[in-house]
């Protein structure tokens, strides 16, 4: 086992060379080289072309839908996710464990399944759609459908981020606030919200990042009309189907840049959360 001095601290434990070699090799082969190929493909185009493709009205409309719906869905999940996490942590009610377990369902359920289920349920004749249709609310094949799908996908991120932070709030803090005459609303705003805010922001960012790139659960319910209900990942696939590799690469690069920004934001929020002691062993 050759261990290069200066790069790695000496250790009596064996296996560094082997394990870092396996990790590095496969990371490069499976993740980094393919991603580099995308960047190179887009970079091989003249800058003017890149700009033209990236700012094409159809592309811009798709960004607006993908980002807008993901943002709104993350906000909805921020509110309802907090309420759900609160109910699960603070209250005991029949079925609480079951509810806690099914929160993870969107993580485990293949997106194609949630996609066709949402599209069918919210279709005008569907289980929920036929209640909404008389009210003039059209969910399936509109941007509202995109919103519903992204809400489903993002929910567990918020709940699972906020739950541990809520658990760690010391009862004595709330009791102290109450004994000093704070109303429950004040306790929530001045004690609880500040304590869970980093975790809530992390959950929001994770849900947002997932929502921006989401494909499977959205395309069945979205209707996929160009300029109206077409998400960016779908536009990439359409370009690929037309053998427009350059167009697909440019849009892919736009999405990749957004992913990097979201990753940076999430790492930053995680650091904030850990610093504030909002839960987590790391």
């Amino acid at each position: 086992m050759v261990i290069r001095k200066g790069w790695v601290s000496p250790s009596v434990l064996p296996g560094f060379g082997l394990t870092i070699g396996v990790t590095g090799t496969f990371l490069a082969l499976i993740v980094l080289i393919p991603l580099a190929a995308l960047v190179l493909k887009a970079a091989s185009l003249p800058l003017a072309d890149v700009w033209r493709i990236a700012t094409d009205p159809r592309a811009v409309a798709s960004y607006r839908l993908s980002f807008g719906a993901a943002l709104l869905a993350a906000a909805i999940n921020g509110v309802f996710g907090l309420v759900i996490a609160w109910s699960l942590v603070r209250y005991r009610f029949p079925g609480r464990r079951l509810v806690d377990a099914i929160i993870d369902l969107p993580f485990a359920l293949p997106t194609a399944v949630s996609g066709i289920a949402l599209a069918t349920v919210f279709a005008p004749q569907g289980w929920l759609g036929h209640w909404l249709a008389p009210l003039g609310i059209r969910v399936a094949y509109s941007w509202v459908g995109v919103l519903v799908a992204l809400t489903l996908i993002g929910l567990p991120f918020v709940v699972r981020s906020v739950q541990p932070a809520l658990m760690e709030i010391e009862a004595s803090l709330e009791e102290a606030a109450e004994s000093l005459g704070a109303t429950p609303w004040m306790v929530f705003r001045r004690v609880i919200l500040p304590a869970v805010l980093p975790a809530l922001a992390t959950g929001f960012a994770l849900a947002l990042a997932r929502g921006i790139g989401e494909y499977g659960s959205v395309i069945f319910i979205a209707g996929n009309l160009p300029l109206r209900t077409e998400i960016t990942p779908l536009l990439i696939i359409i370009k690929l189907e037309q053998y427009d590799y350059r167009g697909a690469a440019v849009l892919g690069l736009v999405m990749l840049c957004v992913s990097f920004l979201m990753l940076l934001a999430i790492n930053f929020l995680n650091a904030w959360r850990v610093r504030r002691g909002g839960g987590g062993a790391q």
Binding site: V22, K41, P110, I116, A119, E174, I236, Y245
Partner: protein, 296 residues
């Protein structure tokens, strides 16, 4: 442990003090939201699958194309899950048991596939191996197909499931420290023995959790695989892609029948994960931030 005791104390204290009206309203909102967004769509999968009776359901499942899709999905997972398990455990060992420069960057890079859109995850392989891709002409000359064929499906699935095992195992391995391993080495144990007898027993539940999550995603991946598969019926369609094809052909009963299998997979994953958390690592449930923030 102390944290969990405090948390339990806080929770029970709050239960005693909580305003019954607020309590009812908040639980009501939670349940109503979950009912509409989660429960009804999930239940509808089974409902629509059996809409035309069990006969149609069984016919849809025993259709040759469905069986081919099931086989392809199982085969893909059989390659991807073991490979990513080895890579994930290797990565966790190198990162948790050694100090080296750039460690934090390595962790971020391993997490990268979580933040990349599934469609982009598939796109990169088309740009590498597709007809107009970097290696396209060379591959055609040698009559090798990667994109729109099985290897492409495996590669895209490897990409999207890359972080799962590492991200479950790493924090637990870090918490273990290195003392036990160092003691074992000083007593003359070989590296493999140290891993198997000292490290593995402590991380086995996290490892199991990583493997089942990796497997669920490998079997259920849609976006990335949709890009590289080419949708050749009975040949390059995994179960999620087969669901899409049937749905687009207005064969709702068929689409939902295949979907119900994937739903079973998801439920089994959740049950194993819950059992794992309840029995495998008491106390870990209360400390899930790190786990949650790492999810896809």
């Amino acid at each position: 442990m102390t944290a969990s005791v405090v948390a339990l104390g806080a929770a029970s204290g709050a239960v005693r003090r909580s305003n019954p009206f607020v309590r009812r309203v908040l639980i009501g909102i939670s349940l109503a939201f979950l009912f509409v967004v989660l429960l009804v769509p999930a239940a509808s999968v089974l409902g629509y699958a059996f809409l035309r009776g069990p006969g149609t359901y069984l016919d849809a499942l025993s259709h040759p194309d469905t069986l081919a899709a099931v086989r392809l999905t199982l085969l893909t997972a059989a390659i991807v899950v073991p490979l990513n398990t080895v890579i994930g455990v290797s990565a966790a060992w190198a990162i948790a048991k050694f100090d080296f420069r750039g460690k934090q960057y390595l962790v971020t890079l391993i997490d990268l596939p979580f933040s990349v859109s599934p469609v982009v995850s598939g796109l990169v392989f088309v740009l590498l191996f597709g007809a107009q891709g970097w290696f396209g002409p060379w591959l055609r000359e040698h009559d090798i197909s990667i994109v729109f064929a099985f290897p492409g499906i495996v590669l895209a699935t490897l990409f999207v499931t890359f972080p799962y095992v590492a991200r479950e195992v790493l924090p637990v391995m870090e918490m273990q420290g290195r003392d036990a391993e160092e003691a074992a080495v000083s007593l003359g144990a070989s590296g493999w023995t140290v891993f198997r007898r000292v490290t593995l027993p402590g991380v086995r539940w996290a490892l199991l959790s990583g493997i089942i999550l990796c497997n669920a995603r490998a079997m259920g991946e849609f976006g990335a695989v949709a890009v590289v598969s080419g949708h050749i019926r009975g040949l390059t369609t995994t179960m999620p892609l087969h669901v899409e094809i049937l749905y687009n052909e207005y064969d709702l009963a068929g689409a939902f029948a295949v979907a119900s299998l994937l739903m079973l997979l998801a439920l089994a994953t959740l049950v194993i994960k819950a059992a794992n958390e309840a029995w495998g690592q008491p106390g870990r449930r209360l400390d899930r931030t790190s786990s949650a923030s790492r999810q896809p």
